[in-house]
Symmetry: C2
Subunit: 277 residues, 2 copies
Amino acid sequence: MSGRSQTIAETLTRAIIDHRLVPGCKLGERELAEIFDVSRIVVRQALIRLADDGLAQIERNRGAFVARPSMQEALEIYDALTLVEQGVAAQLSDRLGPAGWAELRHHVERQRQAVAAGNDALADVLGQEFHTVFVRLSRNKVMQEIHAQLVRRTTLLRSLITADFDYCNLLDDHSRVVDLLEKGRLKQAMDLIDTHHRTVVRGYIMDREVFPELTPAEALAPYLDGKAEGATTAVPLARPAKAPGDAATHLHIHLPKKDPAPASRASTKKTNRGLQS
Amino acid sequence: MSGRSQTIAETLTRAIIDHRLVPGCKLGERELAEIFDVSRIVVRQALIRLADDGLAQIERNRGAFVARPSMQEALEIYDALTLVEQGVAAQLSDRLGPAGWAELRHHVERQRQAVAAGNDALADVLGQEFHTVFVRLSRNKVMQEIHAQLVRRTTLLRSLITADFDYCNLLDDHSRVVDLLEKGRLKQAMDLIDTHHRTVVRGYIMDREVFPELTPAEALAPYLDGKAEGATTAVPLARPAKAPGDAATHLHIHLPKKDPAPASRASTKKTNRGLQS
DNA sequence: ACCACAAGATTGGATATCAATCAATAAGTT
DNA sequence: AACTTATTGATTGATATCCAATCTTGTGGT
């Protein structure tokens, strides 16, 4: 693409949405420059991109930090997300052809199979992807980018909450939305989208104080395999979930810190599956 | 705020939405560095911000240019804008209190008076501002920023078209939208918003070849009055339309070039008033 | 315990320099 | 003359070094 700062911004974005860099984490210029083996200026350009995206905030003479959205901002992000997806739903109910409906159904089916097979990691990814596919079918790249940015920001919020109730009732929402839309029941579909997001955000209890985390060097290590491939698409596209074992333990590092009990991993998985769908 | 690059990015943005820098215009790093009396690095950071905002595009090893949206992108931008404003309309019809309706009516009334007084410049500004006020009443800053970005990008499109039919029938749309919304006729209001934007974009005939323009130095000169005040808000807020004579002749420099007749200024004004409302 | 001041660290920015790439001209060939 | 190729020039991407302003921290005195 455009240069190293773009690549670095994408890597940092990936690390943030993978919850390896949590809100509030300091993103020091010198530190990142050493990690990525570039000059401070390139890092700064990457940080500017992140800040424009809402994923980082730069405080003058204090440096850049992973953004720590307030509860108010969380509500606004989900409000905006609801607005966008409702609007797209309205467009699709008019304009979507059979191939589009088939793609949505196929996606839902894949997620259902993943759930049935107990592959929680895959179900997580597919659950997130559904929203992306949904918006992509609007064939509006501008809208896609807006939506993708909002989704990225919601992943920030998931590091800031303690969710301990059951989200399983949300798992079928995707399927029901497709059903309602294809049957032309637009109003009901829009209400369901609204409820879907409202149920998620209602579970948000933000305790924004303590967040122990990995150092940036540890967090970013998995993305820096081969420097030769770093310039291509290999590193940004590599999902740490594919790395067996290692990534899984780090993925929700903030929860083990809050709840020292090692048995918390299974329940964490379940909770996050609901959150991401 | 954050530093000089932020200020420079805002100045460039202002120059672009004032049509002093037109799509395709080269934004050379060295040139801008001399104009703003900063180093190339700061300029590049500003250009990155502009590119992230969709107002500039950076081509590797070729430099930055004011973005030249395609017809497809123009349609997508207006589609997204329609979606956002329809969604906000739906929210406002539920949640907006009497004070909000009063503010909308007051704004429409101010625009009506400006039109009646023949103050086309003020009517232009108020016509644009209505959409901004409308979205602001949603009390969602995230949505506001998304909408503001879309609006900025539509101003780019206005440099790329030749509009020679009458837009006067759109001048009352704002008032009618407020009326319909306050009466609870949401569906009709949303349809009117859709029609409003569709009518605008339907007049777009993009002839994207020839665009003679001011040099960046000439275009940016009005924003660089006092360097002492440059860091504050004085310069970015100064609208060149307030500068008597000089700015008006430059404002739509692309039209005089296409139509050498010097009498074109009055008709140009009228056309743009419709476009911006 | 509390405040003031000094030292250190970090950011924001400037300057100079270098390599890589693109554009445009000049040269040579058919 | 037209076309292709090579050289030159200009611009960008990036680095290293340096400096000023600001923030943080730690120390010392009251």
